[in-house]
């Protein structure tokens, strides 16, 4: 049994063969890094967004087996998935919460790139494609919750259609061409957009958007998956009420990433201005910002105006998002009175946020620079990392495996008892435990590869050194192969044309490593 772990069996050889074969594919341009220690997820939020996209693709593909995009059956088929199909509840909830997570992750990813200044200087294409991907992601999430065809979905569809209608001259024809005429067409076409048009566009853009250096952090990926499942378990998404045009709907608000836009629409000002022009200007500003940013430096502290613009946008997004959710709780007023937001109030708040955010940014920059200067004067604090020795690694690992067994049983029993959300919650915990387990595993491997000094016996060390010397002598006797990797490398280096390319590549590599060493 143990011998099997040491021997290179045929399965491992197959994987190695496939891996070496990838050299001839497009993947040779990519460099995957699997961190051997904890690194801040801020640097690979894009990869996490992509992982969530894959989760959405898998759960969405499975939901397609049961969902029916037909006017009078859409809602019922979702109810069937949710209530009757085994694990339909789980898949629907993962799909729903992953869609929110993807939008959130994409926004965080965007702002991290924005404030760290990595979006400019030869990264403009990455930024511009990223913004388009972000807009399509929101449209993808939006079309998704529309095709349930609940009351809320109908509200969203009618807003989408009336915004398209409001576009001068071309609007009504565009609505007719893209959405068709009537709810039957809307449901079917939104479905087509949701499962094919938008995802295929996203994948195409992602092919352009992917940088060459990618980080795949297994514990973080599993933790994100677990977090999505736990959220699904704690806040299972409801069905909403089936849309019936003869029944007055209750108060509904759109998903959180659209309530900001909804707040503007609720000001009852012109639909085109509030619903198309404002978001259009916002997206356009995002597209051109790397070309406006003329600062030579990257840190947010050295780019005050750009940082202040970013802080302003965050402040405005947060406030309008909350405002879109807020509905006057006074039930004695008419529904319309409760819904309408005074445009003068709304726009003056938006304007007031600009100087406030600029002031806040300058304050933060001053504080940060002050803290930096103080930190330089004071002696560096010594880090005290948590290092488990081998014995404790085994103990913790065994305890986690035992916990996994318990959680597996608990999840299955919860399902048998009909507590689907509890089962989903526990499966989320299992994912988190796996994340912890993997982290301990890689920590253990690091220790095994770099044994701690006191544990090495002196005589052993001498022996191993002697052995190494002997093997080195042996290798010197052998004739050198002309096409050894070292030779090829030196040839490339000596070649005038290629050396430039090599330099650029190694420079990129250095900056990439520097990026990680910061965390």
């Amino acid at each position: 049994m143990v011998a099997l772990l040491h021997k290179e069996n045929s399965l491992v050889r197959l994987f190695r063969w496939i891996y070496s074969g990838l050299d001839r594919t497009i993947f040779m341009g990519l460099k995957f890094t699997f961190p051997t220690r904890f690194v801040s997820p801020l640097g690979f939020l894009g990869m996490l967004t992509f992982v969530i996209f894959i989760i959405l693709g898998i759960t969405g593909a499975l939901l397609m087996l049961w969902y029916e995009p037909i006017l009078d059956r859409a809602w019922d088929s979702v109810e069937n998935i949710n209530d009757s199909i085994p694990y339909g509840f789980h898949l629907r909830n993962i799909h729903y919460h992953a869609s929110n997570a993807m939008v959130m992750m994409a926004i965080l990813h965007m702002y991290y790139q924005y404030f760290s200044g990595r979006y400019k200087i030869r990264n403009e294409i990455l930024w511009v494609t990223g913004i388009i991907i972000g807009v399509l992601t929101i449209l993808e999430a939006f079309t998704g919750y529309d095709i349930i065809f609940s009351e809320r979905a109908e509200l969203a569809i009618s807003i989408a259609a009336s915004l398209t209608n409001s576009i001068p001259i071309l609007g009504p024809d565009m609505r007719d061409a893209f959405f068709g005429a009537g709810f039957h067409d809307f449901v079917l076409r939104f479905y087509a957009f949701h499962v094919f048009f938008l995802p295929i566009a996203l994948i195409g853009l992602m092919a352009v958007h992917f940088p060459r250096f990618l980080v795949f952090d297994v514990p973080m990926v599993m933790a994100i998956s677990g977090a999505i499942m736990i959220t699904g378990g704690v806040f299972p998404v409801d069905m909403g009420l089936k849309f019936d045009p003869n029944v007055p709907p209750g108060i509904t608000v759109p998903e959180w990433y659209l309530t900001g836009l909804y707040a503007f629409l609720r000001s009852q000002y012109d639909k085109f201005v509030t619903g198309v022009a404002w978001p259009g200007i916002f997206i356009f500003t995002l597209l051109i910002i790397p070309f406006i940013d003329k600062y030579k430096k990257f840190s947010w502290k050295d780019r005050p105006i750009i940082s202040a613009i970013g802080i302003t946008s965050i402040a405005q997004i947060v406030i309008t998002t909350y405002w879109g959710f807020y509905i006057d709780p006074d039930r004695t007023k008419s529904l319309l009175e409760r819904l309408v937001i005074d445009p003068i109030f709304l726009y003056s708040v938006m304007l007031a946020l600009v100087p406030l955010s600029f002031g806040f940014t300058y304050l933060m920059i001053k504080l940060a620079k002050n803290a930096e200067a103080n930190a330089k004067r004071q002696p560096k604090r010594t880090e005290s990392p948590i290092t488990l020795n081998e014995k404790w690694i085994y103990l913790v690992f065994i305890a986690l495996i035992g916990f996994q067994v318990y959680l597996n049983i608990a999840a299955y029993y919860a399902l048998l008892a009909g507590m689907k959300n509890i089962s989903l919650f526990i499966i989320g915990i299992i994912m988190l435990v796996f994340a912890g387990m993997f982290h301990i595993y890689r920590h253990g491997r690091t220790i095994a590869n770099n044994p701690l000094p006191p544990s090495i016996q002196y005589s052993d060390k001498i022996k191993s050194l002697q052995h190494r010397k002997a093997s080195l002598d042996e290798s010197q006797d052998k004739p050198k192969l002309t096409s050894s990797p070292e030779n090829v490398l030196s040839q490339i280096k000596s070649n005038g044309l290629l050396s430039k390319v090599f330099k650029v590549a190694s420079k990129n590599k250095n900056s990439f490593e520097k990026m990680w060493s910061k965390d």
């Binding site: 037909i70 009336s162 209608n165 024809d173 893209f178 009537g182 045009p245």
Partner: protein, 203 residues
């Protein structure tokens, strides 16, 4: 290149540029037929050149002699063979015989109106209320009120929308010699019969 000076003078086009123009013209012509393929996108099922009956919920055709004054019914237009599609809100129309004071006692088409029931605000289905003091279309959702004579919203959120989104789409009606009511072929355009869920300009 076009920036290079041509040996025969600036007013003459070079052979190379001429060839480029020919290639551009050929490319444009090759892809021209696909412009018309855009017709694949919109749903044309509502377009017809024939008159159709005003079919009441009981299956009979509306007649000026029997349809009561100051009364309304929900009719389906265009009617489909598919029962599911006939439930579509976008195919439901409010067929109204106007009250007496608005000319409802006349025995011609001017006494009747057929408006799209899809409220122009957020697409709930409004209906006509014949009671004294109301005699108007009312939307149950956010309280938009519609004038039965013109189909224009005069109160509520729909009335605040800019034209054409404040006037309901309307079907043209005709009465034959036996008094039966017919719907004339519609022109689904904001300047014609209007666009359901969007509106109509009042001529």
């Amino acid at each position: 290149m076009s920036t290079q000076p041509t040996p025969r003078g600036d007013d003459k086009i070079s052979r190379r540029d001429f060839l480029k123009l020919l290639a551009a013209a050929g490319t444009v012509l090759t892809f021209t037929p696909f412009v018309d393929w855009g017709k694949f996108l919109p749903n044309q099922s509502g377009a017809t050149n024939e008159k159709s009956k005003v079919e009441l919920p009981d299956g009979s055709q509306a007649n000026v002699k029997t349809f009561k004054i100051n009364h309304s019914e929900a009719i389906i237009y265009p009617r489909s063979d598919d029962a599911a599609l006939n439930k579509e809100a976008f195919r439901t129309w409010q067929f109204i015989r106007l009250p007496q004071e608005l000319g409802g006692e006349k025995n011609d088409a001017s006494a009747f109106r057929a408006y799209s029931m899809v409220c122009l605000h957020l697409w709930c289905l409004w209906k006509y209320w014949p009671q004294d003091g109301r005699k108007r279309g009312e939307c149950p959702c956010h309280g938009s009120l519609y004038d039965p004579l013109t189909g224009a919203a005069f109160a509520g959120p729909a009335s605040l929308q800019s034209p054409p989104s404040n006037v309901l789409p309307m079907l043209d009606l005709e009465v034959d010699k036996d008094g039966y009511l017919w719907i004339l072929p519609p022109n689904w355009n904001v300047n014609g019969n209007g666009i359901v869920g969007f509106g109509r300009f009042i001529a």
